[in-house]
């Protein structure tokens, strides 16, 4: 557990912090330390590019490790409206990929309204809708989409790992087209 304390420390959180705080602080710190904030400009040589790189990679590592830790610990709450009968289960197992549209049809098949989902996950229906329509520009950063998607799958008792592996590459492909290409290696 010693290592986990260091991760929480790096994210400037107490060890009892929950997954939301972890995502929030990660997004905050990443934006602060990877950008050109005036607070960092004021440090001049005290925060060299090497230190910055080192810090950011430790931050990424801490975020990843803590996300995994907390995802495994979290008890699964079965909402009353999302009971999965054997028929539905078999039908889901036949689904080839988890596109937004596929997720939507699963949800509808299970008679779950977006508002039901909101009442438990507290994720605004507009974001749930954006997940189903793959409106990626609704999300300020990958970490938001990822954590919302995890909540979404958990609510429907889907295999989170499987959904993420299928869904997230489309987001990354889309995000890749929006960023300038990295400089070619020398």
């Amino acid at each position: 557990m010693e290592a986990f304390h260091k991760y929480f420390d790096l994210l400037e959180l107490p060890p009892e912090a929950g997954i939301e705080a972890i995502h929030r602080n990660y997004a905050y710190l990443r934006a602060l330390y990877s950008g050109e904030a005036i607070e960092l400009t004021a440090l001049h040589g005290d925060f060299s590019p090497e230190l910055r790189q080192d810090y950011l990679s430790r931050l990424d590592d801490a975020h990843e490790k803590l996300t995994l830790l907390l995802e495994n610990q979290k008890p699964i709450v079965t909402p009353p409206t999302a009971r999965m009968d054997a028929d539905v289960r078999a039908w889901i197992e036949d689904i080839a990929g988890f596109s937004g549209a596929a997720l939507k049809s699963i949800r509808e098949r299970m008679n779950v309204e977006l508002d039901d989902m909101f009442s438990i996950t507290r994720i605004q229906p507009q974001y749930l809708d954006a997940i189903e329509n793959e409106c990626f520009d609704s999300f300020p950063a990958e970490v938001y989409l990822r954590s919302y998607l995890i909540e979404y799958t958990r609510f429907l008792q889907l295999d989170t790992r499987k959904v993420l592996d299928d869904y997230m590459p489309r987001y990354r492909a889309w995000a890749g087209t929006r960023r300038p290409a990295p400089p070619a290696p020398e």
Partner: protein, 330 residues
Amino acid sequence: MWSNPYHLPTMWEPMEHSGKQGTIWAVGGGKGGTGKSFLTSSMGTYLAQKGRRTILLDADLGGANLHSFFGLTKPRHSLTDFFDKKIPLPDIVVPSGIPNLGMITGSIGSLDSESINHSQKQKLFRHIRGLDADTILVDLGAGTHINTLDTFLLADRMIVVTAPEVTALENMYQFIKSAYFRKLKSLFKTYDLNASIQETWKNRAAYGISTLKDLIQHLKEGSDHVRDIFEREMSGFVMHIVINQVRNHRDILVGENLKSICMNVLGLPVVYAGFARHDEAVQKNINAREPFMLANRLSPVTTEIKALTDNIVAGTPLSVQKDLLNGSLS
């Protein structure tokens, strides 16, 4: 009891010296023009309004003008008379015109240059503590002169004022760093740690040390003795950050960002006590020589200064909702 010639019984509750020592607040921050004197006078006004017997001590070297914030002319006696003419400190205190609030004027050279030595500084602080007041606010003015830093470090509450612009932040960072290094240096000397620290720093690559934070962490983990020293000497070492002249939500976040940066780069915990927004009315009031807090009771600036003063009294931080990325506040 106050015994200065200007003493007005209606302003000062005549009372015997309680024997209780006052709490000293020092307000520094490196850059001039960020509003240190304005905030010092306003915090003092608020504390006095709350019934705390408060004294403002103007130690601004470049231009002692705290009295102007209360529409007063420069008092006859200043700190120089305390050093040169041995006039007792209570006799230099003049009333500000606000109940419970007194003032001591500095003078050019009173705390800068080499004009006073360390024992004189300690003597001054003994006498400041001996004043019959609950809180004494010391306005340090600009700069990172050794005397300024030492005065800052002797205080019970260390307050750093800055504005959300890069030049002010540069000077403030230098000020925080210089004060912190001076504190650490005296700590290392007192406990004879210099040799082992230099040894560790020389081999820092082998230990994976790249910042001061790493160095201190390494020393604490390697020795219970060093850890105890830090716990004892540094646990109360807290700087309170105040951001003045805030113009938008991003500016409010500056204090929060500095908190993270001071910890990550220096290993120094700081508390973000609060902010005060930019308001043209402040300048107007200063020019009109009216105390802002009294003339603008309903201004958001007044509310913000009250909140940050309460935070400094209690040692609590401003609670900032970080809704991040775009730097906005929810």
